[in-house]
């Protein structure tokens, strides 16, 4: 299957410090969710910054739909079809849901296309349609995250990069957010997902990639990674919990 996003042998870091990513490679196939998991400081968010154009790699290549876009800025990456949803709540709180969503289409000129994308995201995220005129800052955390997803889909991206979408959300809202990630995938968008809640993320993803010390430790189908007991011990917070034994009455 053709890759929408391909990062090859990426070396990247901040300032003059030692690189965070040391020859990292990943492929995101069309219509799939690829999940990056790993311990704190492994370089997960750095991968997204490189892929989103916020950080220029020192070495390596970034390809979108086969085209080399290495070192391009965020606007160029958006135009190439890569949309980034930042960590935490990144809605513009003092602006309405409508304004937030329309800002996602800021690089687009065609009004008819923008209107079509608005209808599409309203359909995929009903809460966006319901709260269209409300201030985004007044929405709950889960709803804000959906506004961010809707905004990221406005440019009809090939790939959406999601940085810890469940951060700060309660379990119910987290569940809804992961459902929406699946809906994005089902709508035809490839997703590169970085998540601390590794087990939940791998359950949602098609493919998984374990990152440690700036390199890929292991990668493969997400279910296979979930089933690996050694991996569970090292990176997923221990083995999956056994179902509680029902006491005999």
């Amino acid at each position: 299957m053709a890759s929408e996003l391909e990062l090859t042998d990426i070396v990247a870091g901040y300032g003059r410090a030692a690189p965070v990513l040391r020859g990292f490679s990943v492929e995101v196939p069309a219509g799939k969710i690829v999940c990056l998991v790993g311990p704190n400081g492994a370089g997960k968010s750095t991968v997204l910054k490189v892929a989103g154009g916020l950080l220029k790699p020192r070495d390596g290549k970034v390809l979108v739909g086969g085209a080399d876009v290495t070192g391009r800025g965020p606007q160029a990456m958006l135009k190439a079809g890569v949309s980034l949803v930042l960590q935490g709540h990144s809605v513009f709180r003092e602006m309405t849901v409508e304004e937030n969503v329309l800002l996602g289409a800021y690089t687009m000129k065609d009004k008819a296309k923008i209107a079509q994308r608005v209808s599409f995201v309203k359909e995929v995220f009903p809460v966006v349609a319901d709260r269209w005129g409300s201030l985004a800052g007044l929405l709950s955390g889960g709803q804000q995250k959906q506004v961010e997803f809707a905004r990221s889909l406005m440019v009809d991206p090939k790939v959406v990069l999601l940085d810890e979408p469940s951060m700060g959300l309660d379990p119910k809202a987290t569940g809804t957010v992961f459902e929406q990630v699946v809906r994005m995938r089902d709508a035809g968008t490839a997703v590169l997902l970085v998540e601390q809640n590794a087990r939940r993320a791998l359950e949602t993803a098609d493919l998984g990639c374990v990152l440690d010390l700036g390199r890929v430790h292991i990668s493969g189908p997400a279910q296979q990674l979930l089933a690996d007991p050694q991996l569970g011990e090292l990176y997923l917070g221990g083995r999956p919990a056994e179902p509680p034994v029902q006491p005999k009455i």
Partner: protein, 368 residues
Amino acid sequence: MPNVSRILKIGAIVLLAVAVLAFPGVAPNPYILSAGVLVLNYAVLSTSWNFVGGFTGYISLGHGALAGLGAYGTGLLVAKGGLPPFLALFLSAAIVAALAVPIGFAALRVRGASFVIVSISLVLILLLVFQSWASVTGGSRGLVVPRPFDLSRPEHHRVFYYLFAALLAAALVAWWLIDRSRFGLGLKSIREDEDKAEALGTATFTYKLIVFVVSAAFTALAGGMYALWFGDLDPVFQFSILTGSYLVLMALLGGVRQLFGPVAGAIIVGVALEYFKVEYGDTPLHLVATGLLLALVVLFMPDGILPAVGDLLKRFDRSQRSSIREVSAAELREQRLKEQAGTETGGKGTGDDGTGRTAMTEAGGTTR
């Protein structure tokens, strides 16, 4: 049915326009009329400042320098260049707008406190230049600008009062148009979070520079008009940090996100300044009062007077009464009817995907 706050808003605008236009007819003496001209001058300057401050959130204390440049440009073009006054006014504004490009290019590279300091340095540099370059600017002796009309003093004030009112209307229309445009949307995203805006594809630096130039042009027009009206320019007053501080205070007091916020602030501060000068002469009491007012506004009305009044009016407007989630009673009723209809027909009104249901539950929960 149109809601009460909307009717009140339109009524207030009409009332303000009528009051502004009727003021010269009811002003008891030329001094009061000249105070009216001064307040309108402040209103234009503050609205011009709000192109940058209101849309991008960049606090400039250097707008006094741009007004001073407009004033001196107009004055010099008339007094030394022999140009017709109003041609000189527009030419001067165009020159200041052109100068704003390199100034903005340097100043807008920094944010927050750094931008404030850069804007202050602009005022101080220009003060030194205009004081020292006496052969051209008249230095500390000042510059006398010939009057454009051969009219009596009261008539002179009256004509300039209406000219300032027209300039204010033009500035307000420009601000309103930007506020509703795609350009305005990009500017507001810069105000909210510049990095996020850039990540979404907004050309943040170009947008800031464009709006800075627009702001500089209107500021220069106000400065130039002041030069033609007052007829005497002194660098100490034209290039004063106080002027920039007053503009910030006026806009903050009225509400920087409101079209009429700076106008409301200019009326309050302008009238107060004149009152203090009349009652207490050249004492620094008006500065103490200004500082106190600024502190009170920042502490108790960070969004300004107009939003505070708007919130108060909303309390009396049943159709706009809302829960903490900003869902009005009417909207809630409509949502529940939709929900009921959905349940009866087995449609998705009940929120079978989880997302719509979340919104309804929260909205309902907060109004119980």
